[in-house]
Symmetry: C2
Subunit: 429 residues, 2 copies
Amino acid sequence: MRLEYSYRTERFGAVRISPLQRVVEIDGSAADNEVERVQGDGSTRVVGRDTLRGIERDMVIVVPCMNEPRRVIEGVLAGIPHDCLIVLVSNSDRTPVDRYDIELRSLEEYCRLANRPALAVHQRDPGVGAAMKAAGMPEIVDESEGGVRRGKGEAMILAMALAAMSGRRYIGYVDADNYVPGSVHEYCKVYAAGLALADSPYSMVRIAWDSKPKVRDGRLFFSKRGRTSEVTNDFLNRLLAEYSGFGTDAIVTGNAGEHALSLELGLRMRMAGGFAVEPFQFVELFEQFGGVLPDASPVPPEVGVPMLQIGTCNPHFHDNKGDEHVQSMRFQALNVLYHSPVCPPSLRTEILDFLILQGALEPGQEPLRERVYPPVGTLALDRLYDVLAGEATSFRQFGHKVTAVTPRTVVPIERGVVHDTVRETSVLA
Amino acid sequence: MRLEYSYRTERFGAVRISPLQRVVEIDGSAADNEVERVQGDGSTRVVGRDTLRGIERDMVIVVPCMNEPRRVIEGVLAGIPHDCLIVLVSNSDRTPVDRYDIELRSLEEYCRLANRPALAVHQRDPGVGAAMKAAGMPEIVDESEGGVRRGKGEAMILAMALAAMSGRRYIGYVDADNYVPGSVHEYCKVYAAGLALADSPYSMVRIAWDSKPKVRDGRLFFSKRGRTSEVTNDFLNRLLAEYSGFGTDAIVTGNAGEHALSLELGLRMRMAGGFAVEPFQFVELFEQFGGVLPDASPVPPEVGVPMLQIGTCNPHFHDNKGDEHVQSMRFQALNVLYHSPVCPPSLRTEILDFLILQGALEPGQEPLRERVYPPVGTLALDRLYDVLAGEATSFRQFGHKVTAVTPRTVVPIERGVVHDTVRETSVLA
């Protein structure tokens, strides 16, 4: 894969945000296998095949799904590189038709045909709720139903716990409502290339789609940015500008559903529920590593927390979720920013004004507080696995045999303590 | 890349047509580098990365373009694997805006950024016409304009001549009106995988899209097959059945614009003009290698002429060309089949009945004779190059230096003579 170089990195303490860099070639495939700085005009970098492969072998790709057509999900699976471990987290309806059962059959068939492993779980399975509770995260459980709460953030937390169990080092998310397997393939390659280039144990890669085609007047229109993203990015950039004193438009992936990160980083991050999950990642990194709060985590400055933003060459053809979806996403992003201790009072006022102008708040009201969950690294993974295996009827492992479940002490991650034992916590073969 | 096995190959003399086999994984990337037969259930085959790379290094990817938006062409380029040589053949308007100039600037910029070579030429450049004439194909020249005639087949012939000049061994075609770079990437990988699996110096790979999305009632509908293809495939399958006595639906790629072949095969095939070019490839192979005509070419039976038909996992999102385009494509396919000496009288009658029913012919009329050009292997490539370099103002080479033009005798290909000197005919470095 060949990417543009990125210049003028924004810093927020130890967090280093690279401005958008685009994919130049999906298969840039230099003869050289290593990450290579192209000489010539010095404007691109190639990540070689073996380097990509090395990351893919250590990467979990999570497919959160909710009632997508079977054919679409099958296409998404076909785009995920062979060496990645697939984790399907479903929030699909189980009545009147058990859509999760359909998904499981597709996944099983695919794993048999492609000779590869996968894990699957249903988010609202009471056994899954019991497992998360036993592992130490009771707040994620919906008490009335017994399963994990319905949000997208909650699905991502559950997936991260499964990824940690697998012993792999990286996790990437790919939405299931994607009509183009080739773009899923590009996302995964972007994750691997970005994580290789990031060159830090704490790294994150966020994807900016080239465009999002919409049907308009009977033809396709390739719109550049969604409305939600524009608002989220604008306020996140204002936050950066408040601290640096320089206006910026560096952040372009505030709502990026497609992103990947090292588990070393992911396991120590708090995560938000629902659609607040993606923008909250910025807020959490600024709080933990920004160096502006008293209990911020110390990170060796030469390592830092690089966040790469990579622009794909594929458009993102997906299902149209409608306006309600967009509205709720937009406000959840501003809610988490508003309530963060890193948000300066002036920006808080701007958020309030905006929400009132949009009719989302009455004057005098406060933005909602979104749910924020503790880091997945605080979970007892052995207990999680035991209860999943024993009680979660929806939990499935395809082509992936458990050889030993070793009860062991999981070191809880505290702020400031670098968690470097991920490799040892595998309970799956 | 992982593909389904294909069973029940159809034979027409030395031509072996494999029924549709689908892509299971875009990146199937076994640790093993060779073409590998997967054990297990034996239902898939993986073509390893190094095998793909070996083919890509020897492959020319042709992008025939005609007035597509610059952004779309740039996306197509980004999907072509790095090691393939890009050949752009344009039939775009040069007034009132010189769209070819826009295309050249995009291509040059892309080649500089991605550090890769490309060739470009404009089909209607009188210098290009003069070069094709000097090389020995005067019939392809439009005498009134001086350039090569306007058809798609004519663009493909010109591109094949350039590919032969480059000294590479394979040629693949990718339409320029494709909105999804990731699908272009898949097509190229399919070409390389198919050519590797074909295991013959005379091989062809034809692509069947998973679906072709259309905008209908304000949403996307993923239709399976185009109307043109259905008719073409149906009549080609009837031809097979006439000879074998068994009905079949093996042929699913009669109109496949996306296809690749070894130049060893391509240089000895006659090619049709316009939209007849793709279906005529079947007719030509049946005539030359089918063993039913007196002057058919002998091919060692253990080698044969394998034709693989591969189903992508990507849909084909492209520009809507409208109904006129479809109509003319449909009739051109039937015209070439009708006039072929391999077409039995009974099938000829069925074609006539169909064309009359469609209102394309009056009773008593004969289908049009499409233009058919001699094999590109009969051209004098050294003369082609000399005139291109000297007179064709549209001919450009990016990042691809000519080190020596060695005048040499090109052995004309005759039926029955295996052309195995392609490697020696390079006039480009």
